[in-house]
């Protein structure tokens, strides 16, 4: 009976709002009204309040308005008989509770600044297991996974399972299906996170099991994450609550699992989540709300058995998840990609400076190899002592009528995440500097090196079946074999690099569109050319070409570049035609190589954003991982907020990190030599290539001329440094024409 749900949720709404009003009153007695409040490193203020009401809460006194709104939203209580309609009031009460929760959590950040650990991973030793609000860096990084489909959705789990084993059962099943698991609230003091730790499950953003907080109020962080995704990737404007919530209903496949007794406060939170189209699936006997409308299917489903919880939940939400069924003894899926194999857990390893570890994929003739054949040449895990290190070469041979040599590096690159997907195995690096760490847990389950071959064979067939017919994997663990393969591999890498580096936009007639992120950023279309890799950093021209071959109707479509209208700016008649159509006339033209004049559109997924610095006559760029201030006056997240959503904004452009050292990078504006400022971490990340490119441009010490945050974060602060270094940008023609 919905009436009982309404009764409880409305009661809960009153309790929560009253409680938070009290807390707020006390805070005002302790702190000045203009005390800064908010969640760490975010441009979205208190994101639920900001996204839905358009109210920016920056100071303690700013909480007054949304709290008053929440109070006003509280509907009359529901009568037992001859009651008035309650669906609208129920949802309003839930929303009021959620606004109050967000304020409550912001007050906690103010009053207990060390309660949450602002990191991606928990600090077990320090006992810091609650991570609190995801900052914008995490939101964007993880958001991209929602965008490209590697994370199909999230399960918000509140409460705790009857025991640790049950918690593990449910959560690992979500992991297998690649969902994120956002955890909040406790049941009589016990949380799912406690139970998972007890069961030896790694928690943290890297395993997709996110410990938000121990109270029901911390569930608000899940909704704040979702709403920021709508703004960052969907380009929905703050305050446009109808669109934000519709975006969530249609595109963010999230739901709530209520584990344990549902009290009035939980009921209010669940009612609030229904506004997002996020249903609640409970393991207790609570009143159900089955008809559809606000959610895509049911709203509240009760009494679900723990072993059916995951399947029922995704069905109720209308989500299709796929589990890679691969015949290995360990669990497998993207959720295990970020899992670590720490020293104490390590059984043995290859690479990492101790031994050579190489991955090499080579095209083979159809008759040359046998599909599915996995061979271990040399000792296997069982032959290696605990704590040992061994050399390893993973030699993959691929054949197929559609296969081309150009696809070799694309497939080879897959080994990193595919090996990481195996639970208990960790992979770092690539090519001849790979590093594989194998945990005791994996070995206990029966993991052998053969399983790496099994995974590669199965996944290559599944993901690239259109372009390959046969996959054979040989794993060498004897030093002489490894060295031999490594030598061959290095020759191949050199050949490939030269080919890719020498490939220019002039060389090809066909560029590719990329609409991979359109599930999240529906108005954005990328165009990818050899010298303008996708701004997300994930897709270069070759990837797009392969993707088109694999899936001719997929997100990457060829664009005939047509007449070259302006070679310096990178304007192409065929591209213009295409974008005009793709943007439904909103954008008529853009330039591949300019950020000043008609730059390419930017979506929320970009790795870095370049901005003009007129006083320095140059440009800066900032990567998504850098959370600090920048000389353009905006942090990355603010820039992305302004730029994302498919706009072409003169003076700004989103780009990949790799693109910075590509030859055509802002060619129309003077090229890389315009670069006057970069965050230190980005500078260091691409140091080698920066130095090389500087030399090519005739400025061998260019790397040292680029200012970073240690020099300053304003134009005034960095200008003397640039003058002192004799930065080439200063003597270029004015950047603004």
């Amino acid at each position: 009976m919905s009436r009982l749900v309404a009764f409880a949720a409305i009661q809960g709404g009153y309790n929560i709002v009253s409680k938070v009003e009290g807390k707020y009153k006390r805070a005002l007695q302790t702190y000045n009204a203009d005390t800064k409040v908010g969640f760490p490193n975010t441009a979205y203020y208190l994101p639920v309040i900001y996204s839905l009401l358009g109210i920016k809460v920056e100071k303690l006194e700013d909480m007054q308005k949304p709290l008053a709104f929440a109070r006003k939203l509280l509907p009359p209580h529901v009568k037992g008989q001859n009651h008035l309609p309650y669906l609208g009031p129920l949802l309003d009460a839930g929303m009021a509770a959620l606004f109050a929760f967000e304020i409550e959590e912001a007050l906690r950040y103010l009053e207990e600044p060390n309660f949450y650990l602002p990191a991606e991973e928990v600090d077990e030793e320090a006992g810091k297991i609650w991570l609190g609000a995801a900052d914008d860096t995490i939101m964007r990084k993880r958001g991209v996974e929602f965008v490209d489909g590697s994370a199909p959705g999230f399960a918000a789990i509140v409460g705790s399972a009857p025991d640790a084993a049950t918690a593990k059962l449910i959560v690992e099943e979500y992991q297998r299906r690649s969902l994120y698991i956002f955890c909040a609230a406790n049941q009589n003091g016990t949380t799912v996170i406690d139970q998972l730790r007890e069961a030896g499950v790694q928690v943290g953003w890297n395993t997709r099991i996110v410990p938000f907080g121990p109270d029901i109020s911390s569930a608000i962080f899940a909704l704040g994450f979702a709403n920021r995704a709508a703004m960052a990737f969907g380009g929905v404007q703050p305050g446009d609550y109808k669109k934000i919530l519709k975006y969530n209903k249609d595109r963010i496949f999230a739901f709530v699992n209520a584990l344990g007794d549902v009290n009035a406060e939980w009921a209010a939170a669940a009612a609030g989540a229904i506004n997002w189209g996020f249903p609640t699936i409970a393991d207790t006997d609570i009143p159900e709300v089955l008809p559809t409308g606000i959610c895509t299917y049911e709203h509240v489903v009760a009494n679900v058995k723990h072993e059916e919880m995951v399947q029922k939940s995704v069905e109720v939400r209308g989500l299709k998840t796929t589990v890679s069924k691969i015949d290995i003894p360990c669990a497998f899926g993207p959720a295990f990609e970020g899992e670590r194999v720490r020293g104490a857990d390590l059984y043995c390893q290859a690479g990492g400076g101790k031994t050579q570890c190489t991955e090499y994929l080579k095209m083979a003739a159809m008759s040359e190899i046998e599909d599915g054949k996995v061979t271990i040449v040399g000792p296997d895990i069982k032959d290696i002592k605990e704590g040992g290190a061994f050399p390893l070469a993973i030699f993959m041979q691929v054949a197929g009528r559609e296969f081309q040599e150009d696809f070799e590096p694309i497939l080879e690159r897959q080994t990193h995440h595919l090996i990481n997907y195996i639970q208990g195995i960790m992979h770092m690096g690539q090519r001849d500097i790979a590093w594989v760490r194998i945990s005791k847990q994996a070995v206990e389950k029966g993991f052998t090196l053969k399983d790496i071959g099994v995974v590669l064979h199965a996944k290559f067939h599944k993901d690239f079946g259109k372009i390959l017919d046969k996959v054979q994997v040989t794993l060498y663990t004897k030093k002489e074999d490894v060295d031999k393969i490594t030598a061959q591999a290095r020759a191949a890498y050199k050949h490939r690099d030269e080919r890719v580096e020498n490939m220019t936009d002039e060389d090809v007639q066909t560029y590719y569109s990329c609409t991979l992120c359109q599930s999240f950023a529906p108005t954005h279309v990328c165009t990818v050319s050899p010298e303008r890799t996708g701004l997300c950093g994930a897709y270069n021209w070759m990837d797009c070409k392969a993707s088109f071959e694999i899936n001719p109707t997929g997100p990457n479509q060829p664009i005939e570049k047509g007449e070259v209208l302006d070679a310096k700016m990178g304007t192409f008649a065929g591209v213009n035609e295409f974008i005009k159509k793709a943007s439904r006339g909103a954008i008529e033209t853009y330039n591949f190589y300019s950020m000043v004049v008609n730059p390419m559109t930017t979506c929320g997924c970009c790795e870095a954003i370049a901005a003009m610095l007129p006083a320095c006559n140059g440009v800066m760029t900032v990567n998504r991982e850098y959370a600090g201030d920048t000389p353009c006056g905006m942090k990355f997240t603010t820039l992305a907020g302004v730029m994302g959503g498919g706009a072409s904004s003169p003076g700004f452009v989103g780009h990949s990190k790799f693109n910075i050292t590509q030859k055509k990078f802002i060619n129309g504006d003077g090229g890389l030599l315009r670069m006057v400022w970069m965050p230190k971490i980005l500078k260091e990340e691409i140091k080698e290539r920066l130095i090389k490119r500087g030399k090519e441009l005739g400025v061998p010490n260019f790397y040292d001329m680029i200012a970073d945050e240690t020099v300053g974060v304003t134009e005034e602060a960095i200008l003397p440094f640039l003058q002192e270094k004799g930065h080439p940008a200063l003597s270029m023609p004015p950047i603004v024409g």
């Binding site: 309404a6 309650y86 669906l87 489909g149 249609d250 089955l290 008809p291 299917y297 997100p555």
Partner: protein, 678 residues
């Protein structure tokens, strides 16, 4: 002896003319009051219906009295038409022409009644906007801002490059002037037509039925149906359509909107219904008629401390207001004032002996009220300059919007003073039902998802998935020729049993309230499983009361919201929605039926429809017209059979939309999501 026989015969004859209370109504309170009236020797409409049969020729719609060469009567031959239909009047008018002209004049009268009501409201609103009256105010600014754009009235101004909110008084004045101009503007078409779904607007344009202004279409009918003008029944029906749209999408809709602006939009509230709401120890004032302009003021006066205190000085415990007909519905929807009964119970409210004053304005007011009032202490007060009565016990207090509250207080004072004059036995039936009323287009939207997700999409989704089979408007009057309330209630029960959500207005709404169909608990008792589940989820009754008969415009707009919220439909004629007036009697019902048909809706009437004498014309209304607008007329006496026909039409529409089969659960993967439109 002969004389005795004569007296006896006369007595028997008289006895035969009385109604059987149990046959006259399904409502026990009504039965009790009919019996009481009969015992007191007072005749009521029920008895008169028993005594006087309807005219057998008029009932077929083929009596022409439009010129002094007639009346020409063209009854259908007993055996029906064999071969060519050669019937004609002196001028040669065929049965089709005569029936169509009579039908058209009903449309004209009905449209005139609603629209003239609308005009009064618009005039009062103009005086509010001009600040000529202080008794009325703009109570619902949001509603004003919502309708202003439909009149092309700007709600913002550009001041120094910044967009600012425009002054409310300025907006009000411009809306008032533009609204009032709709009745007589010289050029263009009605401005509210553009609120309809686009395909429907195109149909109206294509078939030339866009009203030019509200008054003109009524005058057009009166001219056209004058002797020797339009003698093509299809062309006459075309004008019926045009005049009816001037009502539904014109006068009625403007009336509803401006009433909302001045008196507030209805929101769901709890109230009661039936004669049992009258209280022995209270001053009972019954408000009857249609225009809420006066009744709003009476509510304000009766609830004032001044008046309540005054009532106490006269020995009463307070003042009980009760409504009859649509003015009752207006104050029910906005203030929770309970209706004392439907149209057919107006005399019975006086028969209780507890009615200290009955205040009437326009439409559906029995002249016999004066005769009944004469038998009791009841003051019968007429208030409208166009609606007086010849009987000398009727008091006329003409209502003037400039002194509205004073007029209202005068009336309430008169009722209070009359409390002590009650004579004889007071007998109030101890029968009343609880009801949840107060639904409207906006409040339904809110309750379908709250402040943030409120949307008709929630309703659509449940129509598409089949929990709700369809929508039915069950509206209209009572008719003494059929058992009071029976057809309304039987039909509604049959519909909700089959998962059809019912929207009701007028006396149909009061009937539903009296018989308990307007409570949320009803859903568990009478509904099919799908509708029951939806009602329980939203917390609504399966029958939603949307107000008075001018508020049928709310049903048009609610249906339009269904289109706008998205689904497999594009036009009103696509959605599984139907209309019915099972106990109709007023010409207004014909106008309403015609505007629903012209808006694409299947409409079925009960009782009798005066078109049967002209089969070709009837066939055009029942079939041919559907080719133009998608809607058509139908007629049937049996309410359950009516409901079945409505359900059949709903099922046809569902099939055409491809929503007649169970919907599969779609599990979305990434590729599906990438296909989502921006």
């Amino acid at each position: 002896m002969a004389e005795i026989t004569k007296v006896k015969e006369a007595a028997e004859e008289k006895a035969a003319k009385l109604a059987d209370p149990k046959e006259a109504s399904i409502d026990v309170a009504t039965q009790q009051m009919i019996a009481r009236a009969q015992k007191l020797g007072i005749d009521t409409v029920f008895d008169r219906a028993a005594a006087m049969k309807p005219c057998n020729i008029g009932i077929q719609g083929i009596c022409c009295k439009n010129c002094a060469m007639g009346p020409c009567r063209l009854p259908l031959p007993k055996a029906g038409i064999v071969g060519e239909d050669t019937r004609k009047g002196l001028c040669g008018a065929t049965a089709n022409t005569i029936a169509a002209r009579n039908f058209a004049r009903m449309v004209a009268a009905g449209a005139a009644a609603h629209s003239d009501h609308g005009r009064t409201v618009a005039e009062v609103f103009l005086s509010v906007a001009r600040k000529e009256t202080h008794d009325y105010k703009i109570k619902d600014v949001d509603k004003l801002l919502a309708i202003a754009p439909h009149f092309g009235v700007e709600t913002t101004v550009n001041a120094d490059g910044a967009v600012k909110d425009r002054n409310i008084d300025e907006i009000a004045l411009e809306v008032a002037e533009k609204a009032l101009a709709e009745w007589g503007k010289a050029e263009g078409t009605l401005t509210y037509l553009k609120r309809a779904p686009q395909p429907l607007q195109e149909k109206w344009k294509k078939f030339g039925v866009q009203p030019r202004n509200i008054d003109r279409e009524v005058v057009d009918i009166m001219h056209r149906t004058h002797m020797g003008v339009d003698q093509d029944y299809k062309n006459i029906v075309k004008q019926c359509s045009r005049a009816s749209l001037a009502d539904g999408w014109g006068g009625s809709m403007i009336a509803t909107d401006l009433q909302d602006v001045m008196f507030g939009r209805p929101t769901p509230l709890q109230s009661e219904a039936n004669l049992g709401i009258m209280k022995q120890d209270h001053v009972n004032i019954i408000i009857h008629g249609h225009e809420p302009v006066l009744s709003e003021m009476i509510v304000a006066a009766a609830q004032s401390k001044e008046m309540v205190d005054y009532a106490k000085t006269k020995g009463a415990k307070g003042i009980q207001l009760g409504g009859i007909c649509c003015t009752g519905n207006e104050i029910l929807q906005r203030h929770g004032v309970p209706p004392a009964g439907t149209f057919l119970q107006q005399e019975l409210a006086i028969v209780t002996g507890a009615c200290d004053a009955m205040v009437v304005d326009v439409q559906c007011v029995f002249q016999n009220l004066a005769n009944v009032a004469k038998c009791f202490h009841t003051k019968l007060i007429t208030t409208h300059p166009m609606a007086k009565m010849e009987q000398d016990n009727v008091i006329h207090i003409e209502f003037d919007e400039h002194h509205a509250l004073d007029d209202a207080k005068r009336i309430v004072t008169m009722a209070i003073d009359n409390f002590q004059n009650r004579k004889g036995e007071v007998m109030i039936p101890n029968i009343k039902s609880t009801q949840i009323a107060g639904f409207g287009v906006e409040s339904i939207e809110y309750h379908l998802g709250g402040t943030f997700r409120g949307s008709y999409y929630t309703l659509n989704d449940n129509i598409i998935n089949g929990r709700i089979r369809g929508l039915a408007g069950v509206v209209g009057c009572n008719n003494a020729r059929s058992k009071h309330n029976n057809a309304h209630i039987e039909m509604m029960k049959e519909l909700i049993k089959n998962d059809v959500l019912v929207l009701t207005t007028g006396c149909g709404g009061i009937a539903a309230g009296m018989h308990g169909l307007l409570t949320p608990e009803t859903a568990g008792v009478y509904c099919g499983p799908g509708l029951k589940e939806v009602c329980e989820t939203v917390g609504i009754p399966p029958v939603l009361h949307l107000g008075s008969c001018v508020d049928n415009s709310r049903i048009l707009l609610a249906a339009t919201e269904v289109i706008k919220a998205g689904g497999p439909w594009k036009d009103l004629s696509d959605i599984p929605a139907v209309g019915a007036a099972p106990e109709w009697m007023s010409e207004k019902a014909i106008a309403i039926g015609q505007y629903f048909v012209t808006s694409g809706v299947y409409v079925i009437f009960g009782g009798n429809l005066p078109v049967t004498g002209a089969p070709v014309f009837q066939n055009y209304l029942f079939k041919g017209i559907a080719e133009l607008y998608g809607g058509r007329w139908d007629f049937c006496e049996d309410p359950v059979e009516m409901a079945r026909r409505m359900i059949a039409v709903i099922d046809q529409k569902r099939k055409a939309l491809g929503i007649d089969k169970a919907r599969d659960r779609v599990l979305m993967d990434m590729a599906d999501r990438q296909k989502l439109e921006a």
